[in-house]
Amino acid sequence: MPIDPTQVQHIAALARISLTDAETEAFTRQLSDILDQFEILQSLDTTGVSPTAHVAGLDNVLRDDEPADSLPAGDTLRNAPRRRGDFFQVRAVLDE
């Protein structure tokens, strides 16, 4: 299934990735090639087949709810690009 540059821009927006014009052009071609490979699935009858999300064969893995120490704030924030005190600093979320 071929997709067009407008669709690629839409997908990139969903994925929160900015694209240059050159990237949009290349990804339009490459993603169309990849989607072509997926066409084969439509020829396989899967009526009534249940989907598999996971293969570990485990359900409802539970543990006792016991309080325990978590990472100290200093460790949690060690890799933060911007911090203020013991907080991650982010840009304004709401318009002023």
């Binding site: 900015s18 490979q37 997926f38 084969i40 485990l58 990472l71 949690t76 933060a80 690009p81």
Partner: protein
């Protein structure tokens, strides 16, 4: 007399236990080897020589005190996708170029507790996405058998390091073939365990229902020792299996008499190198000569596995990589713009082309209007692929097949054509889709480049696979062949 960097884990472990050598001499030999040849191969992103020397001294003290395990004092490389506390873990991505985890991955921690010596971190395709290690944001790794060829991927740095004697063993990860295919391309032995056999805690997530940690080493006996150390339940990973871990080394009796081996006819299709076909066929003949029964079997859904994988893996990838927002850790765009713009720029500049392709492919497959046709359909096909294997294992004990239809290809040959790159993994992807254990075992050469035999087993049959590989390696010396560098 062979050099210390040439020793297998098993042999080095014996020499250390017998006090014939010390871990410090062994570690120095490996570090010197890295200094001598890694300039040509680029298999390491980070080498931590001083820390390694300290660990080797500590290991020697443990050995002297009689408190050593089989991996105490053995030098290793860890793929840079596995967290190493206090030491950079880049995932070969610009996004994590400066990232220093505050904890070890469980598999890494278990090896450190055993006293294994960490030499450094292995190069790879960015976030594990690729089949050639050309997708590293830093540099490509070269194949030790021919430096104009790729080492495979995504654990290409790990495979090249073991093949070239720059690590006695390595830990890699395998989401669609990323341990087996580079092991095959570099002529070493690799094991992808059953999904859940080894904890994924501290493995930087790519596709969480497919990812698994495993060893790359010289032979099956080495892989058994390493798997023994890393396998088992971990409260930090809810998908790790509670099943008891057997004694893998004890299972290596070298006897395959009467074992039923299935040859899946769909794994010998068009597009396979003649040299690969010849080497794999001759390995199957050898296993028959050792007493195994060979049966042809069919896995009819195989031709749909590539499409199934390239919907499921990118879908999980797009969800997992949503965490790279430039706020909590990793690269962060520092220029003008509001929150969304900064996030979009962060991800544009931090991710390489293949990562962007997969994130977008996943976002597309999960998006409104396409979910049923792609993601849901792929999950249904996943069921059929699992059922193929279940049916086959009612008749045979293990499957034997090629790892890849091709041998190592020239650097640059496939990097602009994603579909051609994906086809390299057509025989390894179904195993991850079904969550099964599988190995890559050196079985010959084609045009001077190594060929790998793939062994695939039912759920938790690692011991059986290791024994089949061991029996084969007792009778052949393909796994002892080393590149001249």
């Amino acid at each position: 007399m062979s050099e210390l960097w040439q020793l297998s884990v098993t042999r080095a472990s014996q020499l250390l236990a017998d006090r014939e050598i010390g871990s410090i001499e062994l570690t120095e030999s490996l570090l010197q080897r890295i200094a001598d040849v890694d300039g040509r191969l680029s298999s390491y992103i980070t080498v931590t020589g001083d820390a390694a020397r300290q660990q080797a001294e500590a290991a020697d003290r443990r050995i002297a005190a009689g408190e050593a395990g089989p991996l105490t004092g053995i030098p290793m490389q860890i793929k840079d996708l596995l967290c190493t506390g206090g030491m950079p873990t880049t995932c070969a991505s610009r996004m994590l170029a400066e990232y220093v985890p505050v904890y070890d991955a469980t598999a890494v921690g278990r090896l450190r507790e055993q006293g294994a010596v960490l030499l450094g971190k292995g190069n790879m395709d960015e976030f594990g996405m690729g089949s050639s290690t050309e997708n590293s944001a830093f540099f490509p790794t070269r194949n030790p058998w021919d430096v104009e060829k790729v080492p495979g991927g995504s654990s290409g740095g790990s495979a090249a390091a073991v093949a070239a004697g720059m690590a006695t063993f390595a830990l890699g990860t395998d989401t669609g073939g990323s341990i087996r295919q580079p092991a095959s391309f570099c002529g070493i032995t690799g094991l992808k365990p059953t999904y859940g056999r080894v904890s994924r805690y501290g493995l930087v997530a790519y596709a969480s229902s497919l990812d698994q940690v495993g060893p790359l080493a010289q032979d099956a006996a080495d892989c058994a020792l390493i798997l023994q150390a890393i396998a088992g339940h971990d409260p930090h990973d809810a998908t790790s299996l509670p099943d008891l871990v057997p004694d893998y080394a004890e299972a290596l009796n070298g006897n395959v008499t009467g074992l039923r081996l299935g040859v899946p006819r769909e794994y010998f299709g068009e597009g396979m190198d003649a040299g690969v076909r010849a080497a794999v066929t001759s390995a199957i003949d050898q296993l028959a000569a050792l007493g195994a029964e060979i049966h042809e079997v069919s896995l009819p859904t195989t031709e749909y596995a590539l499409a199934c994988y390239y919907i499921i893996a990118p879908s999980e990838c797009s969800a997992n990589l949503a965490r790279y927002d430039g706020v909590k850790y990793g690269y962060s765009h520092q220029g003008d713009g509001d929150m969304w713009e900064a996030m979009e720029r962060t991800r544009q500049q931090g991710f390489g082309p293949e990562v962007k392709r997969r994130v977008m492919l996943g976002a597309f497959a999960l998006s409104s209007g396409y979910y049923d046709a792609y993601y849901h359909k792929a999950q249904q096909v996943r069921t059929l692929i699992r059922e193929d294997f279940t049916r086959a294992f009612e008749h045979v004990d293990a499957l034997v097949a090629p790892v890849s239809p091709v041998v190592a290809f020239p650097i640059g040959e496939r990097s602009d054509d994603p579909v051609r790159m994906y086809l390299v993994d057509v025989y390894t992807l179904p195993v991850n889709i079904a969550g099964l254990p599988a190995m890559s075992v050196p079985c010959g050469f084609s045009d001077g480049l190594p060929v790998g035999l793939q062994l695939i087993g039912p759920h938790l049959a690692e011991a059986r696979l290791l024994n089949i590989a061991h029996a084969y390696q007792q009778a052949t010396d393909w796994h002892r062949q080393r590149p001249a560098l």
